[in-house]
């Protein structure tokens, strides 16, 4: 699915040649060749922007994150040792930047709630699927405003849960890869994914009833 799309951006139809070309570009950019760096940015800019849009859901935030990603890439490209694929390395930076954005947003939201004197930030997310084995998934998703409610429910997840959940669903990445990118174990990534799924289900069902 979308993993293939992401890889397609990096291989551009001719895997061998494109990887050799990319490797040459990276080495040139590491030696301060600005044209090579620009070409590298052009090769991946849509992919990074798409990831940021999916994770942050705001065009302004995504553009800020996009700029920050390539700034970090520019500053740390010298430390890239060609031991993993450039795409994995770049994606790790992009997800870290997005995670920082989500954390900052989450802190701001908590502060706003505290100021409002509203301690019920967690909402209905403490219930689990097991509490309602009789519920009908199709009916949950047939509701008119389910997209909006799903987006609200996604915002209730912890930044890490949300990131793992969205990387799995939007990018189709394996949990092992997601774990590597977020510097957490595969087991921890799995727990985040399942906990996130349970919370979303509970939140969507809670509203329906």
């Amino acid at each position: 699915m979308q993993v293939a799309e992401v890889e397609a951006i990096s291989v551009a139809g001719q895997p061998g040649e494109a990887h050799i070309g990319e490797s040459v570009l990276i080495r040139a950019a590491q030696e301060q060749d600005h044209d090579a760096f620009e070409q590298l940015v052009r090769l991946y800019d849509r992919s990074v922007l798409r990831v940021a849009m999916n994770l942050l859901r705001s065009e302004d935030d995504a553009r800020d994150a996009y700029q920050e990603v390539f700034l970090r890439v520019y500053r740390s490209l010298h430390s890239f040792r060609h031991q993993c694929s450039f795409h994995t390395w770049l994606y790790r930076i992009a997800t870290n930047v997005c995670l920082d954005h989500l954390r900052r947003k989450s802190v701001r939201k908590e502060q706003a709630l505290e100021e409002d004197g509203d301690g019920a930030a967690a909402g209905p997310l403490h219930t689990t699927a097991a509490d309602r084995p009789e519920s009908d998934p199709e009916r949950v998703f047939a509701a008119r405003d389910v997209s909006r409610r799903l987006q609200l429910a996604l915002e209730q997840l912890s930044p890490k849960e949300r990131l793992v959940f969205e990387m799995k669903h939007y990018e189709g990445l394996r949990l092992r890869v997601i774990g590597e990118m977020l510097s957490i174990s595969e087991e921890a990534a799995k727990n985040c994914l399942f906990r996130g799924t349970r919370k979303l289900r509970a939140a969507l069902e809670e509203v329906r009833q």
Binding site: M53, N54, A129, P137, V146, K168, Y170, K190
Partner: protein
């Protein structure tokens, strides 16, 4: 594998994150347990519907 162990593994099964031997053990349990099969079907419908909706949202956001 008992029902409790089977249910703990349904998430990995649905997200295709299970090793082949573990999958075979779970399949063997499901073949003989109607309750766990029912639980799996419900979870499967939820995760499929969720994945479809996430794709729709993604298409809207990145359009």
């Amino acid at each position: 594998m008992n029902c409790e162990q089977a249910r703990e593994r349904l998430g990995s099964y649905l997200y295709n994150e299970m090793s082949a031997p573990e999958r075979r053990r779970l399949d063997a349990h499901l073949a003989g347990c109607v309750n766990c099969r029912h639980e799996l079907e419900t979870e499967q419908r939820f995760v499929s519907a969720l994945a479809r909706k996430m794709r729709e949202i993604s298409e809207d956001v990145t359009r």
